[in-house]
Symmetry: C2
Subunit: 406 residues, 2 copies
Amino acid sequence: MIERRTTIPFSEARQIVTEHVEQLKPVSAGLFLARGRVLAESIYAPFPSPYFRRSGYDGFAICAEDDHDFPITLDVVAEIPCGATYNKRLNPGEAVRIMTGAKVPEGADKIIMLEQSQTTEKSNEIRLINTQPSSNITEIGTEFQKGDLLLEKGHQLNAGSLSLLASFGITEVKVWSKPKVAILSTGSELVAAGEKLPDGKIYNSNEPLLVSLAEEYGAEVVYHEALSDDYEVTLTRLREIAGKVDLILTTGGVSVGDFDFMAEIAKHEAQLLFNKIQMRPGSPTTAMIFEDTLLIALSGNPGACFTGFHLFAEPVIRKFSGEASSIVEVRGVMARDYLKNNGYDRFLRGKANFSEGKYQVEPIGSDMSSALGNLPFANCLIMIPRGKVGKAIGEEVRVWLLSSKL
Amino acid sequence: MIERRTTIPFSEARQIVTEHVEQLKPVSAGLFLARGRVLAESIYAPFPSPYFRRSGYDGFAICAEDDHDFPITLDVVAEIPCGATYNKRLNPGEAVRIMTGAKVPEGADKIIMLEQSQTTEKSNEIRLINTQPSSNITEIGTEFQKGDLLLEKGHQLNAGSLSLLASFGITEVKVWSKPKVAILSTGSELVAAGEKLPDGKIYNSNEPLLVSLAEEYGAEVVYHEALSDDYEVTLTRLREIAGKVDLILTTGGVSVGDFDFMAEIAKHEAQLLFNKIQMRPGSPTTAMIFEDTLLIALSGNPGACFTGFHLFAEPVIRKFSGEASSIVEVRGVMARDYLKNNGYDRFLRGKANFSEGKYQVEPIGSDMSSALGNLPFANCLIMIPRGKVGKAIGEEVRVWLLSSKL
């Protein structure tokens, strides 16, 4: 009556799902839409920066021929506000009033700061009282020569990158595509928050969890729906969606019960990758290729769903985008006891705190797979290996740091 | 001819701007819009969780009276899928087929797992071959009693919080308002990326920088515009915008040149807070109250603009939202020499690397205030105090870690 499943270690499950996806093709994106995305091309300076000789100060541009025996008095032949140009050559005996950032005229060799000048009785004349060794001119290409590397392929675009690209007039870049993800919560017991709650039913908490996590880790969620426990309905909807997305995440229906239709679909309608992992919570987590689309069927228990997302869906989403998993494994030290007998490797939602050169970690809240009170506070997953004794305070454990930015 | 300004230390400038703003009023927001926002109220469980006695397994619900002398054979009186209920009381001699997560009927005391059952020849009968000490029932309120604290005022909502709130049917929460910010770049030399670049003009890089940073640190950017160097145009536009936003950030026009209109507006049209800070880059950074709205006028030099945003605008944006600055000051150790003479405290864009229990920091790229090639890579600001010698490798420095998430 009870189906026997082949269990595999969680690390193998993780490897299987990531091996089944490939980095997506690059797409062009406008600057602001590209924020947070990863460059699929290296970007080189299309022109030198600055591309003209730039005045570093407000003051007067003079020729080298006049740059001695101060104070000197010169004719002011023009005023160059920022963004304007003086299109004649500056001659000895002449000065041009120039602003910070403005283009230094041809023939000019130095900017005398405004502070070193005095007006005379004549409005078209200036007395320059002193000089400085510096030319106060930023020469062409001082920061970047034409063709210099600005940003390397693989760089994640941030505010500073947008600013740098904009300074070269670049408005569009090639970035790795975000994977399109469908999130389907299965279970006739689910009611959307905001609706009336009939007795025996529960509010759907996995859908907002997965939508939020998937977006945060770089996916574009294109479908999120709840499906009732009906084999045909579920199958039909999956067929409509597969092929339109890069990844399908489902919750619920993976166990061995009479209404566990995702488990049935995995066996009869798809290429099953695995349906039992040697871990808790989430041992019946299932993966399959459903009509060429990877489908990860997570447990409907919120704790298991949270853990399963981070271990299996996150690395897949990141690989689609050309990135390694952002969830780093470190060694941690237990800050308190967890001394239960575990038939399988157990992942505890925990809090990691870096102090005295170590990650001190402790389980928080309930370890029940149905518990979700600790989801807002967990910043790591702590692995307690299978065995009778658990881990005592001070013992080393494997820890996955959740990189969630919020 | 040259105006003398009173200089203040950067820490005083930072204090002045933050003292001039108050936390905004809370607003109600739907769950998904509230993501990343900070709760302005504590949230308590509106009902216990679970709110019904929940079956932990697929199996058969039985009465305590039958819970001995296994194997036993019972009449199966109903099947309860998840989300359904059995509205009669279970009697001794009866069993109910029940699914994981379903409501345990009244009178039932234990769930015998499906694995411990055998069908008999009669379809309405089940043979239960074994028992376990656990009831396999999650009692009402096991995770939360009605009225228990779910999330505390001040909590920043993440994927887990949305999930927890949704599980209680909560769809709307009070969060601190995001400040509305206007970003105005001044300067007739500015051209938007994508436009043709006339000689002597430059692409506007500060606008994308500030829009991106302001949004990232929690502001809602409601205006971003470039203004030409025209006193009346600038003044008119500021008057139109002030009062509609919580903070105005401008770039450029703060120096002492003939076209530095923000400096003029600060003196003649507003309550000047300061217009000279003992720091580089960005010494002419100016702050004022313009028609009851705080206006921070940053330098137009990209390096100065970047530095000024993090030191002065970020703490203001965060205070509006009820949060402390996310930019933490730490002690760092110089990983290489910076041995220049500095007339003012100098903030270097740098890279901090935590290793061997210390923040190893090093300046990256150019320290010129006009340079922006290092903006995509800087994750800290390093302060080199005023003085003739700078800081040598191994020396301690004050460091501000930029919390930018991208």
